[in-house]
Symmetry: C2
């Protein structure tokens, strides 16, 4: 085993930084037992999701520890939200490289504590290991949903309107800014883009409210085009997205305004963690009301249609002139 | 992202090797959705556990892929068993280094398929990533237990008998054999020890049967002394273990017979994945009956007592002469 020379022992580390995060969740037993108990509420079932993040792959090695923790947790909460589930708790496997300091762990745990308050979840278990490799964080999030009501990818029907929450493309532009690829954009304009890359905003206040409204739902992690493609594939349909209707933040509009080719990155880049869902046209009024109530924009960007005919893309994105945009890549894949 | 040049794409990999492992579990949705649904049976609640394993830390990088998969799964099933839970399903985060071949992934999935049949579980979700670091596998296992009946660490009482399933120390001696530290032991004798190191046997047939019998329970992963110490700590008691009563396999007896100092390794080494539990003396008949029924030895090895007084070890291990054995280290810790 690779020792973490500067860290206190494993049990001390858990007692000092992680056990406090389990307080308030009875079935976590203060992280003093081997497993945790989760009981769904009456009429509910458990929804589970896991996603891992790796330094140098999903985040930058010198990203602030607290934000790394929050991102690792939030990408999982985002999936629960897109499925209509209310998050309950999570487990955490930490693979720490030898250079990890106790200060880093403290800041990491503080990030988790902040998000636990924001999202009403608790840490209920996990595993802490030394690794000779890069910092690796696996989170497993558990939520609950009314029995049989989980929002699936496969329920879309031809004619359904495609909606997206918030704004699209900020994260991919933030990463581009960090890479120095947005040279003409000033720091103040780039800052909120970078913030969105580092700290996704899972739409937990909207997800559970979509039950009864959405016919299919997914969170945008691989990119708008790719994730809409996932809905198309299992719903056995095609989709038309009207590019100009895709909601952009004001800094994203500036970045795209100076270089139209960046629109492609916006439509195919990952890490947005907005909810992309379909609903019948008749539900539009209820969707608008939900947006007003939550204060989060929900924008219609296109519609589902029969298809695909052979050789035609499942997801067709149209530019302002109604011409198809054909991006070189459809979205993020891990290999 | 570090590309895995020899592997098919992420989605193809999932479709080819992992989606088939989800067949038969409705809430896994064929791994075609973002999350899975798990509903506990009537009167039951969900028990969750996660443990990660890293190449070069928890297993040897050239261990057979199928056995690596089985070990990663089994260490988690072992915890569920020790808590009295019936395993249902699991999630899997795979961090694959660049040199990973498709053959390796195929053999890994075959190992999982074998264990799914043995233990009646299904894969319900996960995440596949390329990593620049060592192969890392995080498993989260879910089981169910009758509401409120989970076996905890903290229920032991003074006078309770300490029992252990199977045999102790095989895994640590197997690792020693692999390291060339058992030079006088022939290959045929060492083979079953090495097998136990590579492939733990979670006691899923015994765990759920301990509900109503055991007052406290834990699986031996950190080592007999350390894990018994965990029970002592939360039960606020001390324990006496009679060394000669600790059950050894026949190859372990040979290894300890030629070098008594190896007994220390047996009592403090990890990776046994047997169940260590306490029960009232009056339950001994029922414990014996359970051992007969399951064909798995369950051996009384000591008892719990009040304590600890200051400066006295919580776990006292006695040799054949009744003298305390004082090991240099108490058990496995990750740092």
């Amino acid at each position: 085993v690779t020792p973490c020379g500067t860290l206190p022992g494993e049990f001390e580390l858990i007692a000092r930084y992680f056990a406090p995060l389990s307080k308030g969740f009875e079935g976590a037993y203060g992280l003093l037992d081997d497993a945790a108990v989760v009981a769904p509420g009456a009429g509910c079932e458990i929804v589970v999701k896991t996603d891992a993040v790796i330094a140098g792959v999903h985040f930058l090695p010198d990203d602030p520890a607290g934000q790394v923790a929050q991102k690792a947790l939030r990408v999982n909460l985002s999936d629960l939200a897109a499925k209509g589930a209310v998050p309950l708790c999570y487990m955490l496997d930490l693979m720490l490289p030898p250079a990890t300091t106790e200060d880093w762990v403290a800041a990491f745990a503080q990030g988790l504590a902040r998000d636990q308050r924001t999202f009403g979840v608790h840490l209920i278990g996990g595993d802490t290991n030394a690794t000779p490799g890069p910092l690796t964080i696996a989170v497993m999030a558990l939520g609950q949903v009314e029995r049989g009501r989980i929002l699936r990818r496969d329920g879309a029907r031809a004619g359904d309107v495609i909606f997206v929450t918030g704004t699209v493309g900020d994260a991919v532009l933030g990463l581009a800014a960090l890479d120095g690829a947005l040279p003409e954009i000033d720091g103040a304009t780039a800052a909120p883009l970078i913030e969105r890359y580092r700290l996704p905003l899972p739409r937990v206040s909207i997800g559970p409210r979509l039950i009864g409204l959405a016919t299919a739902s997914i969170d945008i992690s691989d990119g708008l085009a790719a994730d809409l493609g996932h809905i198309c594939e299992v719903s056995k349909l095609a989709a038309v997205v009207e590019g100009p209707r895709v909601p952009l933040s004001s800094p994203a509009r500036r970045a795209v305004g100076t270089d139209r080719s960046r629109l492609e990155a916006v439509l195919t880049g990952g890490d947005d963690y907005e909810i992309l869902f379909t609903a019948q046209a008749e539900a539009s009024g209820s969707v608008e009301a939900l947006a007003r109530e939550t204060g989060i924009a929900i924008t219609p960007i296109g519609h589902m249609r029969a298809g695909p005919a052979d050789g035609v893309d499942r997801v067709v994105m149209l530019d302002a002139a109604g011409e198809p945009i054909r991006p070189a890549r459809r979205g993020w894949t891990h290999f």
